[in-house]
């Protein structure tokens, strides 16, 4: 049986029943924001602005120490630059898995390929002869990320951008199981969880599973109109409130980041 969490009355009042998207106009369109406890899965097209949306979603950071942004593609510096650009809080927890992977696993792979191509030098051989144990560098990022999010307390806000990293390296069934676990944690703790996953090359059965676990399914799409691009967010699933399904066309402004277009385009 699921553990019951007692919520503080003050917290209930402070956090409310819904949390902001980080985009006020989206909140207005979606009756105030995202219901607390929801897990959102965003299926994304390349160039559709989903990375910026993921950062913007973490920007309300009601409690910065209870807000976690996990990026698998970008480095710390790039993330800080964007947060500074839009004046979003810089004191949230950020983990850059891609950067960590590059500095550990790829570095090791690079060294291995050097040994394979160029061979061993005398000092390499001497070190090899004195090394008695294998360095355990095989980090299980999936478990680490799961544990990190599971350690967040009530009313947390977490973003995983994106799941592609894990789906490319792990058994998809394990990744789906992790998402299921995180969704349960979000529901139990009234947390808000956004997970993005690229639609390119995504197995339809995995997409189906992720969609069924998610409380809200978003699709970030980009298309060309004449010589212009049109980016849109489609809300194709909203648990227990199908009336909220929407297509929201948005653009990116230097002041507000992602902003829904309120004026109809004339094609």
């Amino acid at each position: 049986m699921a553990r019951k969490i007692e919520f503080d009355a003050e917290d209930e009042e402070f956090f409310g029943k819904v949390g902001s998207f980080g985009v006020p106009k989206f909140d207005n369109e979606m009756h105030g924001g995202v219901p607390r406890g929801f897990t959102m899965v965003a299926f994304t097209d390349t160039g559709s602005g989903s990375e910026l949306f993921a950062k913007q979603f973490s920007s309300p950071a009601e409690e910065s120490e209870n807000t976690l942004y996990i990026s698998t593609n970008e480095g710390q510096q790039e993330i800080v630059r964007i947060f500074q650009k839009y004046d979003w809080p810089l004191d949230i927890n950020v983990r850059t898995i891609g950067e960590e992977y590059n500095s550990t696993v790829l570095e090791r792979e690079l060294l291995a390929s050097r040994y394979r191509l160029e061979g061993f030098q005398l000092d390499d051989i001497q070190r090899l002869a004195q090394t008695r144990f294998v360095d355990d560098n095989n980090q299980d990022y999936l478990t680490e990320v799961t544990n990190e999010i599971m350690a967040l307390g009530p009313y947390f806000r977490a973003v995983v951008d994106s799941l592609d990293f894990f789906l490319q390296r792990e058994d998809p069934a394990r990744v789906v199981a992790m998402v299921r676990m995180l969704a349960a944690h979000a529901q139990l703790n009234r947390g808000l969880l956004l997970i993005s996953v690229s639609t390119n090359g995504l197995d339809p059965s995995v997409k189906q599973e992720l969609s069924s676990i998610a409380d809200m399914v978003l699709s970030f799409q980009v298309r060309t109109i004449g010589t212009d691009f049109e980016t849109s967010m489609i809300v194709s699933k909203f648990r227990n409130a199908p009336e909220n399904l929407k297509i929201l066309v948005f653009r990116v402004t230097p002041e507000e980041g992602i902003t829904p277009e309120t004026v109809e385009r004339i094609a």
Partner: protein
Amino acid sequence: MQAGSVYTRDRCVTGIHGLDEILRGGIPYGSTVLAAGTCGSGKTTLGMEFLVRGALAGEACAHFTATEPSVKLLENIRQYAFFDMNMVDSGLINVFDMDVLYSWLGLDKASFDLDDVHALIKAIVDIVNTIGVTRLVIDSVTTLCYKIKSEQLIRDFLFTLGKKLATLGCTTILISEITSATENAHWSSFGVEEAIADGIIVMGDVERMGHLLRFLQVVKMRGTAHSRAKHAIELTPLGVMLTPMLKWGAQTDKANRVGV
């Protein structure tokens, strides 16, 4: 060479009590010898003593351990009086952990493909060449070959490795684990090692009056005449001791086989 004189190949004197006599002076230099034996037959001790005797003669030696971690191997072998840990510390005997080598080469995976096999050969040959190894033991080639799924690839691996090591003048003992050492048994786990090796030394157990005796038999050794008789092995603190098996033992063996 003068007409009528007999050419003999230079020998790698093993220094193992009794083995050089069996081999009429030692293993021909640069040979790849398969030491195939059942569990507990003394393969690892034989291999390590082969290196120790070489190190004592000032030769650079290398041991690749795949069956057990090098720490455990050294802890077990240091109980023998013939072994001195200083030989390892001073670099006369270089002990390499195969798991570490795999990790360094990015080979920490379940099976090896052609590129992986080539990388492994290159690494071993690099080590032998760079530090001038003249005596090498791989313990065991069976464990190593488990990762090579195709018989053809195992054959290529052993053949290429043996050829390159021979070119470098390195005498190699490949330890092979077998389940039976009887006359009808295969002396290799994959069936290809025995065909490629220059020499085969079989080690196993025979029962004598309720006792399990270890034996060693040189089945094949290219480049030298040798005894093909079974010899009893004793693993003493001073090293491996080989003595010819008594004839009555052989008779009993024969009697057992025909069911008398």
